[in-house]
């Protein structure tokens, strides 16, 4: 589903990605962990076609992300640091707008379905500005999955969520994984990230320095390994 080859990204003299190679198969749920500034957000933005790599190639679902941007974007659901929602509109109005942008078939039914799924069916007519941070994040998840994307890119999806809301989000991700959606989840929260993923990558100073299936990982040992890897110069 994702094929990234030697992807680099520089912002002036600062190198955010220093040659990332990444292959993720269809239906995989992969966790990308790394400290702040490791390049997680930059990588996800490049995969989502929001940013162009300085060099290297990205293919999503077999399509070249730089040449087939429109078709690639139709396959992607992206959850960013921001909710990408309009505060002045209700949850339903926001989703209806995005349904029109993605040309979602039977949009009314689909909107009802995703709102129920994230537990906001009763708040659909409330303006986004009146929702709590956790509710906004759940609505953002509803927006990201509204158009049945094959690939979900989630950037720090647990940020700002309390324990209960984070558990709900984990359940939702596991459910989406069962539907054979490909999920790449970037987080700096080791516990949550590792427990939900089938495969774990560590990104440090713009490079993938660790890539193992979840089964091979013991959390206490992994935390130690993570600290050792992310504290040393590559």
């Amino acid at each position: 589903m994702i094929e990234a080859r030697n992807v680099t990204k520089s912002f002036g003299p600062r190198t955010a990605l220093a040659g990332v190679d990444l292959s993720i198969a269809e239906g995989e749920l992969v966790t990308l962990v790394g400290p702040n500034g490791a390049g997680k957000t930059t990588l996800l933005r490049i995969l989502a076609t929001l940013s162009r790599p300085s060099s290297g190639t990205v293919r999503i679902g077999g399509l070249d992300a730089s040449r087939d941007g429109e078709r690639v974007r139709a396959e992607i659901g992206f959850l960013s640091h921001q909710t990408l929602l309009y505060d002045e509109l209700t949850g339903e109005q926001n989703l209806r707008f995005y349904a029109r942008m993605y040309e979602v078939a039977s949009d009314r039914a689909r909107i009802g379905e995703v709102l129920e799924r994230v537990g906001l069916g009763m708040r659909r007519h409330d303006r986004v500005e009146t929702l709590s941070r956790g509710m906004k994040q759940r609505l953002a998840v509803a927006r990201a999955v509204l158009h049945h994307p094959r690939l979900l890119l989630l950037d720090e999806p647990y940020s700002g969520l309390d324990a209960e809301a984070a558990d709900r989000l984990t359940d939702l991700l596991v459910e989406l994984g069962r539907e054979r959606r490909t999920i790449l989840l970037a987080t700096h929260r080791l516990g949550r990230g590792v427990s939900v993923g089938q495969r774990v990558l560590i990104l440090h100073q713009g490079r993938v320095v660790y890539d193992q299936p979840r089964g091979a990982i013991e959390l206490p040992g992994f935390a130690q390994l993570y600290r050792a890897m992310t504290s040393q110069e590559p």
């Binding site: 909710t83 505060d87 509109l89 993605y102």
Partner: protein, 229 residues
């Protein structure tokens, strides 16, 4: 195939415009700020200048367009700032649409907001300055001038919105580039107010039409690069 793509394009443009109008109906922050500014500006002009008779005919077009332009700049800045809040622009860029649909949608929304303010302004202007502006030929000039201003303003607001001093940056970038449309609009309006026909101010109307076409074409070609990282 081409017809299908065109209809899809128009549906997305309409979705953006309707979203902007729905958000504005709730917040009222763009139109109300423009309206308040316009009314205050007109009141100041009416007290500062004794605009009656021939003097009014000579000065009214300049007063009208100065008010429209500064109110429009205020609205453009707010409209794009709304997209930046909570990452709305990023949401638009993630959608599987041509970037030009985003430009058309935003520019059309800005045109609607400016149009609403102009429609509210004209009767007040006519009453204060005793110059009848609620006429089809003057409305045509207003539409042509507003199309060009909204188009170039949307492009430049998209450029300025990520800068730290966007409120300062937008007028600094916009006003010099809008000079042709402002000269054309002021001259055409003045001619019509002084009794000329549309044919007699045809050269100014042609400048407005050419400016609109050029600026829309340039915006379509460059908007994608402006909004992408």
């Amino acid at each position: 195939m081409i017809r299908g793509r065109a209809l899809q394009f128009l549906r997305r443009v309409a979705a953006i415009v309707e979203k902007d109008i729905a958000a504005e109906l709730h917040s009222k922050e763009v139109v109300s700020a423009m309206l308040v500014f316009s009314v205050v500006a007109l009141m100041i002009f009416s007290f500062a200048l004794d605009l009656r008779g021939e003097m009014a005919e000579a000065a009214a077009p300049g007063v009208l367009w100065a008010t429209v332009v500064f109110a429009g700049t205020l609205g453009l800045s707010r409209s794009l700032a709304r997209e930046q809040q909570s990452g709305g622009m990023e949401g638009l860029l993630l959608a599987p649409v041509d970037r030009s649909a985003i430009f058309f949608g935003k520019a059309a929304g800005n045109f609607v907001f400016m149009g609403v303010v102009e429609v509210a302004l004209l009767p007040l202007f006519s009453a204060l300055f005793d110059v009848p502006l609620l006429r089809a030929d003057v409305l045509l000039v207003l539409v042509l001038g507003t199309v060009g201003y909204a188009a170039v303003g949307t492009l430049l607001a998209a450029m300025a919105v990520n800068t730290r001093a966007r409120e300062v940056m937008l007028p600094v970038l916009l006003l010099p580039l809008a000079v042709p449309v402002l000269i054309g609009a002021v001259q055409a309006t003045r001619g019509l107010v002084e009794g000329a026909t549309l044919a007699e101010v045809g050269s100014w109307i042609r400048i407005l039409v050419v400016y609109d076409l050029v600026i829309v074409a340039v915006s379509l070609l460059t908007f994608g690069s402006v909004v992408e990282e």
